[in-house]
Amino acid sequence: MKHEETIISGFGGQGALFAGQLLAYAGIAETLYVTWIPSYGPEMRGGTANCTVILSEEEIGAPIIQNPTAAIVLNLPSMEKYEPLVKPGGLLIVNQSLIPVESTRQDIRVITIPATDIATELGNPRMANLVLLGAFIQATGLISMESLESELGKHISERHRKWLEPNKEALHKGAEFA
Amino acid sequence: MGRGMVILNIDRCKGCGLCTHVCPVNILVLSPDTFNAKGYHPVTVTDMEQCIGCASCATICPDVVFTVFRRKRQPQAAAANA
């Protein structure tokens, strides 16, 4: 049974929330049950933003979890917070460009990607979120790249539509690391 | 040493840029490459010599980054003023 509880976390502006939503949209497209819940409120002003996304073949109980089955960390504070929390056997995807430390966990799979660097190369460091997301779906097989691309097309804002193709490329680049 | 000088409490700066617009001698810019502890590109002084100590920067800065000094007036000028 497919069931993945993922936390995506980074600085505000790094697109953690959007990556989570995209994952959620794609989950729905593949008829999974989906929940997405952000941290909200004053802590957001503090600078970090994170969301929890659950995709499952069965109805979802708790939408807030302590120990994710996967975590995508975009910056150092997120790494420090979530690396220890990933469930044994789980997955950790690390934005190497901004995270100068390495995971010491032996009981989980760790994928390290210079995502911000790759994104910068593709034209915009803000696409690091998608690089990491690409790796995530490749590694988990939770949903297909096609769903993700198609939802990206639907939900990208007008302002950012020019970035659609580079965004897709970011997904693919990331997938190569998984 | 110019007519004035400012001391910056860089870590308070949020890089809003307001001071850069009001400095009459245009010596304030946001540093494009550096980040302060808060993660902002903070203000920096390009040429302190030109500072006239007008305190415009301090007047507009929402985050009280500036301490401002000005060359003391000549005693006789002060007397004339009294």
């Binding site: 939503q21 959620a24 949209y25 989950g27 729905i28 008829t31 999974l32 049950y33 989906v34 929940t35 997405w36 819940i37 952000p38 909200y40 409120g41 004053p42 109805e59 979802i60 109980g61 708790a62 939408p63 807030i64 979890i65 302590q66 120990n67 | -």
Partner: protein, 352 residues
């Protein structure tokens, strides 16, 4: 309609629109403002009434006015705003006009914070402000249920000419979930007979909560209490999960209720006979069923995001048939599956 990814606040607002909401009056407050924002666009687009009031006190009284005119009307708010509505709610109760209120509860008391909470349980279920009255309180646990209950809320409000509350919390308002919105329904064509819309061709209608003389007001109250008894009879709703053979019964509503479905799932995996009763109406409260289950199980664990409010209703209905324990988190903290699970295990050991 297909499933969409919907944010709780947007979902209930759009659901209300589709269920025929004719007027909305509200005041921004986190964590429900997205509902007001959504309606500020949608209602205007559809030529319906949207007005941002100058305060919650004004909002509740605008709702009272529009409800008196017989339209489908609602507002939404959170704790502090809801508190300001108390007097108006009591007037609405006393004059028996239908109106729907959504409270996305946040941490209190006072300004508190904007994190999820269930600490307004007493405030919502025991009384509509001053005087004897119970609003009908619906407690959704998912965004789909929130959507569905929006329709139910209007239906019940109008059927019984009563106040209906939806008791949500910040996390339900802020989360997104896959859910299906209803199709757009046509607006009602006729206002009810009792509505104030000008007295053409009939005697004037009067909407009031004033009844001079104790005997007169007592008669009104007796009628209100009869109506409440009827609601209790007909509209008590709850969901059960694995209760047939349960030895420990969890009782939880809303967000904590859905978390407890995970607890049940986990504990069953571990071979523990745990069941869950999740009240969908907080008033009327599923008294009878809980009393029955209290006779069956070895213990009950109530869990809330509060210091233990629904707990009192469970204690009252369990009638000492089994121990009733409590696990709660306060001030905006959402309990985790594991926490409740470990409390449950503890209880299993205690009653073994």
């Amino acid at each position: 309609m297909a499933k969409e990814l919907l944010k709780g606040n947007v979902a209930f607002a759009e659901a209300a629109v589709r269920y025929g909401l004719e007027a909305y009056f509200g005041y921004p407050i986190t964590p429900q403002s997205e509902a007001l924002e959504h309606l500020s666009g949608r209602m205007v687009e559809l030529g319906r009434v949207f007005l941002q009031a100058e305060s919650e006190v004004a909002a509740v009284n605008m709702v009272y006015g529009a409800a008196s005119a017989g339209v489908r009307v609602m507002t939404s708010t959170s704790g502090p705003g809801f508190a300001l509505m108390a007097e108006g709610l009591s007037y609405i109760a006393g004059s028996e006009v239908p109106a729907v209120f959504v409270n996305m509860m946040r941490g209190g008391p006072g300004l508190g914070n904007i994190q999820p909470s269930q600490a307004d349980y007493f405030f919502m279920t025991k009384t509509a402000g001053h005087g004897d009255f119970h609003p009908l309180v619906l407690a959704p646990a998912s965004i789909q249920e929130l959507i569905d209950m929006m329709g139910l809320a209007f239906e019940l409000a109008e059927k019984y000419r009563t106040l209906v509350y939806i008791a949500g919390d910040g996390s339900l308002g802020q989360m997104m979930e896959s859910a299906e919105l209803p199709p757009m329904q046509p607006l009602r064509e006729k206002r009810p007979d009792w509505a104030v819309i000008g007295c053409e061709g009939r005697d004037p209608n009067i909407i009031t909560s004033l009844y001079l003389g104790a005997k007169n007001l007592e008669a009104v109250n007796i009628r209100l209490q009869k109506k409440l008894a009827e609601i209790k009879q007909n509209e008590t709703r709850w969901k059960e999960y694995e209760t047939e053979d349960a030895e420990i019964l969890l009782v939880a509503y809303g967000t904590v209720g859905r978390i407890c479905t995970s607890v049940v799932r986990e504990s069953r995996k571990q071979g523990l006979k745990i069941g869950l009763l999740r009240p969908q109406t907080l008033w009327p409260f599923p008294d009878t069923r809980i009393r029955e289950l209290a006779a069956q199980v070895k213990a009950i664990l109530v869990s809330e995001m509060s210091a233990g409010q629904m707990l009192e209703d469970v204690e009252r209905t369990a009638q000492g048939q089994c121990p009733v324990k409590f696990y709660g988190r306060l001030g905006g903290v959402v309990p985790l599956t594991d926490e409740i699970l470990s409390e449950t295990r503890k209880l299993v050991r205690e009653v073994a």
